[in-house]
């Protein structure tokens, strides 16, 4: 059986074709231009993951929102669930960059952290 992927590990976006045997094991991979492509296909087949990026509300800050992200990719099928958990979170300014906003999201062991600082003020 053949399965096609577009690698998302870098902007190049290689189109990778994978051949699987009856048990789902990979017998051939073509179209990748580097090792990252092989890693990507393997993880897409066994444990697909995505980095989630979103925002949380800030109180007492110069801006009303702080952008946040998962410091490592989380399981792809739990992205919407994670978004729902993050959506009601409010943090108080000041916020530092890389501050942990939500620890161990959905029990994945992965933290949601800020991607910038927000100083106190305004609002």
């Amino acid at each position: 059986m053949e399965k096609k992927f577009i690698c998302i590990r870098c902007p190049q976006g290689c189109e990778i074709t994978t051949t699987l045997d009856g048990l789902g094991a990979i017998t051939d991979i073509t179209g990748n231009s580097c090792k990252l492509g092989i890693d990507y296909v393997k993880s897409e087949l066994s444990d697909p993951r995505r980095t989630i990026t979103t925002t949380v509300a800030v109180t007492g800050g110069e801006l009303p929102l702080c952008p946040v992200w998962s410091e490592k990719p989380i399981p792809k099928d739990r992205v919407m669930e994670a978004a729902a958990v993050i959506r009601p979170i409010t943090v108080a300014a000041p916020v530092d960059i890389n501050q942990v906003i939500c620890e161990n999201i959905l029990g994945t062991g992965i933290n949601i952290i800020s991607s910038r600082a927000i100083t106190k003020g305004g609002q």
Binding site: I8, C10, G13, P67, A83, I97, N98, R116
Partner: protein
Amino acid sequence: MKKIYDVVVIGAGPAGLSAAIEAKKSGAGDVLIIERNNEPGGILLQCIHNGFGSVIFKKDLPGPAYAWNFIEQARSLNVEMVFDTMVVDITGGRKIYASNSVEGFIELDAKAIVLAMGCRERTRAQIMAPGDRPAGVFTAGMVQRLVNIEGYMPGKNFVILGSGDIGMIMARRLTLEGAKVIKIIELLPYLTGLRRNYVQCLQDFGIPLELSTTIKRITGKKRVEAVETVGVDETLTPIAGTERVIACDSLILSVGLVPENELSRKAGVVLDPLTLGPVVDETMATNVPGIFAAGNVVTIYDLVDYVSMAGATAGISAAKFAAGAPVSPPAFTLTPGDGVRTVMPQKITGLSGPDASVLVELRASREFAGRVSVNILEDENIVYSHVEKYARPAEMITLKINWNETAKKLSNNKSGLKVNIAKI
């Protein structure tokens, strides 16, 4: 603020920050960045998605985190920054007029200037989307700013026109914040953004993409009520009978970016009719002595890493100029040949750096499915060649050229060189 600076940078986005940092590091004393937003970082601050920094940091960072590295560096090097300030005029003699609500009307002189104003989005009129003129028609970048920075949702049910990166990224973003993205339509028969964004922004969230389709009509007196789409043929002409009405309250346009060069024009900088940005050499010098340019103001990039690199080059060149270093006139011109739509730099001095390293950014004029060679030609003679797996208009090709090596192959002492893309 002082009355005279060694280097003044217009714009505190990635190109401007890098330019200021490298100008300082190269010995420029007084370096000022003038920024119209109220903080440094430029558009990166609203690009909260990851995907930045793969070339420079070998990391996959969100936009604000990428910008943070440069903002911190600029601050620690004592680069002076003034915010909420708009430059309204630049003269060829490097006098700068700006305006803000604190200092009022500002007049200052610069020994060297780096233009780093970035780009703006194409709008509804440029794509001739007919119909009513209600609220609810937005450009993708504006929605990105509203949702990610100002904190407002501009609609509930969205249709997006244009498969550029910002459009796809906003499709995911709006979905994550609880809105419905009905579909993305694209006039061209192919995706115009990066394919990884198609996978992780559309496919992952089940958002349909319809190619070869455009807007026939926008309906709604007050707020968008519906858009009527229509399929197009190979000549991009609408096909009668393929119309479809989609009820929605918002239409997002992600239909391309245009370098923003009103100030460059005022300063007498010559623009390339293809890139729509200044004609520059590999030192990022424009035709006006002491005025340099870098980033999306010069040509529209795909990757911010290369914008930062161009900014650094411009900053180093500006510092040298401010210190009174002699100017090397360009010895060669680069123009697009077959298969190439734009090329930057358009001129080459061939003199900078120990290996005279030249970064050439170009875009294909059409899709090449298989392997191609990207060549620099002196007449029919190939003086440089580089192999790519494919070439697409959507993806910029970056060539890193050792110009000393290339120059050795030049035989006819010709100054006009062409860049082409050929199928292998």
